[in-house]
């Protein structure tokens, strides 16, 4: 099974003819993902190393039978691209683009939810189900297939932890980078709910960071709805209060939102929290190998 992307994923890449879209789209195909189409308005009839380009996502769906879209278009076109994908009938949209205005996301999120479509991102690294499909910019080679579900607000931190798990001989069912923007299509809870339901996932690892209260909410969800063991890591223990660190997802709001507050909320419901990426990997490895 795995979650969100798998062997049934038929991917259209919006912005496949751009440099990033091409680089990562082809890497996704090289990984084994079925990349069935690209969309660039005005370039229908062309191809990118054999992947046909269409003018619209609707054509990619009707002619290429795409069911999932990967969005690589520039920020000012990103909301339009997601709307287009949703209206074209894909069931999943993964949006890598960063700097999508938060107010655009307000309306878009509400619309996507009303339509029952799964959105991951924006400003996220994508979703990788090792051995099945890689959709986005996650470096597939650092992850092994296995039974650990990984969900993270931070892209590179996810690779770091996946890498440490792989070095400990462990693998992942799916790795989901939800993105760190103020509004993202899938929250920790949305993804944890899927891990709980996924027969291939046995353990979940949550990778959070300072700012907001998503980790606190996830802790509550885990306590109330999850039977599978959950581990966590939170970045930003040494962040000075009140400083913005890189993106809106990392604004500390008052006393809440600190790494320490998140750690406490997670530990309060029995989730073990590592102090460094290595430590959380070690905790998971110890558990997976029977303590």
């Amino acid at each position: 099974m795995a979650i969100i992307v798998d062997n049934d994923t038929r991917l259209v890449v919006q912005g496949l003819t751009g440099s990033e879209g091409r680089f990562h789209g082809l890497r996704n195909r090289a990984y084994g993902t079925q990349v069935v189409a690209g969309v660039t308005p005005g370039k229908a009839g062309q191809d990118v190393e054999g992947i046909p380009i269409y003018d619209t996502v609707a054509q990619a769906v009707s002619e290429g039978r795409a069911n999932t879209s990967l969005v690589f278009v520039p920020a000012r076109f990103a909301a339009d691209a997601v709307y287009e994908a949703v209206d074209a009938g894909v069931h999943t949209v993964i949006c890598i683009t960063e700097h999508v205005p938060a107010h655009d996301m307000l309306s878009l999120y509400a619309y996507v939810r009303a339509k029952g479509v799964t959105l991951v991102g924006p400003n996220c690294p994508g979703v990788l189900s090792p051995g099945k499909a890689n959709v986005g910019i996650i470096p597939g080679e650092v992850f092994r297939a296995g039974s650990i579900g990984l969900v993270s607000r931070s892209g590179t931190l996810t690779y770091q932890i996946g890498h440490e798990l792989a070095q400990a001989g462990l693998g992942n069912s799916s790795i989901v980078g939800i993105g760190g923007d103020p509004i993202v299509g899938s929250s920790f809870i949305d993804v944890l709910e899927r891990f709980e339901a996924d027969p291939e996932t046995e353990i979940a690892v949550l990778v959070g960071e300072i700012g907001g209260d998503e980790e606190e909410k996830a802790a509550k969800f885990v306590a109330e709805h999850m039977t599978k063991p959950v581990f966590a890591y939170v970045a930003g223990f040494s962040a000075p209060p009140g400083k913005t660190m890189g993106h809106a997802g990392a604004i500390i709001s008052g006393s809440s939102g600190t790494a320490q507050a998140k750690r406490e909320a997670l530990e309060a419901v029995g989730i073990k929290v590592g102090t460094t990426p290595s430590e959380v990997a070690a905790l998971v490895a110890a558990f997976a190998k029977g303590e």
Binding site: H24, H103, L106, T156, Y159, P182, E214
Partner: protein
């Protein structure tokens, strides 16, 4: 991006929200002239992006021109929580009958704008929320619905406002504040206090507005305001170079890719017994040039004793980072040692480039923790 009070008030004024007549000043003489124009008494307010201005002596009343000048001189140059006052706002002082609180914020959890209103103004809003939660009316606006007049009514009647003229004025201000929030891509638009004068006029006595950085592209007039509020010269330099940089107080310069990994690197340097000199995030898909820019900014800090690169490639490619480091070593005179840890996309190519060039003061380490330990050691 946080706006200074006077910038927020200018947005409010443009949105039709009543504010007092005032002027921006940078010298005591300007303050005196401004006070003459707006009429006495005036209030002289330090324009800094930090709270507690009043307690720190940054907000004072003046009854005449001499007093205004004396007070302005006293406030200019004041250090308020590390922010040096360079700009003042001088406005005609308002008589205050009652103080209310009104705001629109971006509720990340609910994924909806949140309106908050209370007639229990003049205190910290957190205190009201805790001690008298019923007095604080909280109302989300569904993005599929958009703002409707009933939202304003729910606040006004919910908070128990009884005077019909106030109900009308506050309702109008709620709608205008919401439009202002929406049209300026704000993450926060707060009026604290929203006052009622003895004449029964409702107006905004302060303004706290935060603009979504990702939307500045469509608000060039707001983007221009950015540097006016910047405190640290290094951060200003960083911004001009397109680098996300936060100055800290230690000795280990840090460069990561992605906010999470960069923050984690700061944490790990602390765990390894060191003290981070900064947080610097190359972001996604950094080019060699942006690596050079980052190194320029970091090496401009004299406290830096070593620099730690912690890169896990995704959209960022390890070979680009390696090229950037090598280019920087050629172009800039870097005397401190650089420790590099590269993994992920094109990491091998990157490591190969570094190994080939093999600069004297460059150390490549296999893991994040090893690299942090080495950088901490070298910074001593």
């Amino acid at each position: 991006m946080d706006l200074l009070e006077y910038q927020g008030k200018q947005l409010f004024g443009a949105a039709g929200i009543p504010v007092s007549d005032g002027r921006v000043c940078t010298t005591a003489a300007e303050a005196r002239a401004a006070a003459d124009e707006v009429g006495y008494p005036v209030v002289v307010k330090a324009q800094v992006l930090t709270g507690g201005r009043g307690k720190a002596g940054g907000v004072k009343l003046a009854a005449d021109a001499d007093e205004t000048e004396r007070i302005a001189e006293g406030i200019l140059g004041l250090d308020i929580n590390g922010h040096v006052v360079r700009t003042l706002w001088v406005e005609h002082a308002s008589d205050i009958e009652r103080e209310y609180y009104l705001s629109v914020t971006f509720d990340r959890g609910a994924k909806k704008p949140l309106l908050m209103f209370t007639t229990e103004g003049g205190v910290e809003i957190e205190t009201v929320a805790e001690e008298n939660p019923d007095a604080l009316v909280r109302l989300h606006v569904d993005p599929l619905e958009g703002f409707q007049p009933h939202h304003a009514r729910a606040l006004v009647y919910g908070a128990g406002l009884t005077d019909p003229s106030e109900q009308k004025q506050v309702s109008a201000i709620v709608e205008k504040l919401y439009r202002c929030f929406e049209q300026n891509d704000a993450m926060l638009a707060e009026i604290n206090p929203l006052i009622v004068t003895p004449d029964g006029l409702v107006k905004a006595l302060d303004a706290k507005v935060t603009i979504d950085d990702s939307a500045l592209g469509r608000h060039p007039e707001l983007a221009e305001l950015r540097d006016e509020g910047a405190a640290d010269p290094l951060e200003t330099l960083a911004r001009s170079k397109g680098v996300t940089y936060v100055k800290l107080d230690g000795t280990v310069g840090i460069v990561g890719n992605g906010a999470g990994l960069s923050m984690s690197t700061v944490d790990v340097v602390v765990v390894a017994g060191g003290s981070p000199a900064n947080f610097c995030d190359l972001g996604g898909g950094a080019s060699a040039d942006s690596v050079v820019n980052a190194l320029e900014v970091i090496t401009a800090d004299p406290q830096v004793g070593s620099i730690l690169f912690n890169i896990f490639g995704g959209i960022t490619r390890g070979d680009e980072v390696a090229r950037g480091i090598l280019a920087a070593l050629e172009r800039i005179d870097i005397t401190v040692p650089i420790v590099v840890r590269l993994d992920g996309t094109h990491a091998e190519e990157g490591r190969a480039l570094l190994a080939e060039a093999a600069p004297a003061n460059l150390y490549v380490e296999p893991t994040m923790l090893d690299a942090a330990r080495r950088a901490v050691e070298l910074a001593r």
